[in-house]
Symmetry: C2
Subunit: 271 residues, 2 copies
Amino acid sequence: MTILAAGQFCEDQDSLVSRQARLACRAGMATTTAGVAGGFVQGNLAILPEKLAGSFHRFCQLNPKPCPIIGMSDPGDPRIPSLGIDLDIRTDLPRYRVWRDGAVVDEPTDIMAHWRDDLVAFVLGCSYSFEEALMEGGLPLRHVEGKLRVPMYRTNIACSPSGPFAGPLVVSMRPFRPAQAIRAIQITSRFPSVHGAPVHLGHPQSIGISDIARPDYGDAVPVGADEIPVFWACGVTPQAVIAAAKVPFAITHAPGLMLVTDLRNKDLAVL
Amino acid sequence: MTILAAGQFCEDQDSLVSRQARLACRAGMATTTAGVAGGFVQGNLAILPEKLAGSFHRFCQLNPKPCPIIGMSDPGDPRIPSLGIDLDIRTDLPRYRVWRDGAVVDEPTDIMAHWRDDLVAFVLGCSYSFEEALMEGGLPLRHVEGKLRVPMYRTNIACSPSGPFAGPLVVSMRPFRPAQAIRAIQITSRFPSVHGAPVHLGHPQSIGISDIARPDYGDAVPVGADEIPVFWACGVTPQAVIAAAKVPFAITHAPGLMLVTDLRNKDLAVL
């Protein structure tokens, strides 16, 4: 995993647009982080009580493609300095979801009232990072062009379970012409900490997707007759797993409203 | 291009199985080199008069995926020490094809009688090297399992022309299940000097292949309903281009009877 240690940020912290985005959230901004702080890594959030954190950590270790950990906190500590010196996980996302027994019970803009000394925060890599690399590589992303959410599907591929955490792999889909699909595989292979290479392409039905026009999450996008649907492991997987586990208490980010870190997308490339 | 300089071979030259294979050819062996000297790079051969060699060299430079040069001789010099200290291109292949005006006029086991002071030899990387990497990666090769020649197809993709050399890209096809196809793209991307990453997958008709069951060269292999046909640029391309150019004189290897070099396949990996 490519993670900068605390103290490795050599720039003036105040000037980082990523930090400014977090400070805006801390001040109450509650809009999507899509397109915010270009070049900086955004992350999915999962917060669990210490009693469940070990099982969830192991779930991530067993399923690194949907659940690539890019940072985590000590129990009860709201800071994750490896992702941003002054980062406070309780306030620095635009909006959160508080879960009890598998149901969302609150969607606050901070979790000061919900924070506990036994909570552990996990930040997981997300596809925004590799999508930036794909676009910089000249590959068109249809959902971005259409201002849609990426289509996502539950598959028949079971994640490796850990404690109460189990469920199907959720994938996101991007259609490409064949030569583009090959290039997209090469580019995303360089970014294992943000889902990495695709898990499937070309035969949706063989991973349990019966109708590509009807995603389980997000919006449908058309796949041309000369195109290949390419499927990546998706960060919705751990959210779905946490919901299905019906754990007594958990907190996640609200969909599309994520943590902006001080890591650079380009620094996640392994080669 | 990953090429060892002459003198970099630190092993006892006599003991190399690659050199022994060449010496056997020199002594008259005229059988396929498929499976010979495992681990060592084999190459396609193209020999042209100096007057045409510049155009052909440029053709290779313009079309590196089908025509990756791994070694070439000086005009009139039958040695290519970067591929083997004692290598003699006139005797060290099992069998040759001598071409005049686009037709094969002789298939000798050496070309001593055809050699001229103005001839330039080009050795081009071949798919045996990346197939070894695929098999070492646990990916099954159907044509190998069936003891067949790989199926090859003329496409509607035009090579960039150079002088008299022009024509369609020829591709080889290997069927894989989707996750295997993704892994095959990653593995072969590491080997740009032996055709590298595939050029296409999934939609044969969009590159001008109307019936995948009827290859233009080699043998048909079945593609399962849950599989993806994956297409790599093929070393038959330059042979077809030389034949189509109807140049007055050329020499190539006979299909499947190639030059065994002292390079190691693993040393061709760029990462």
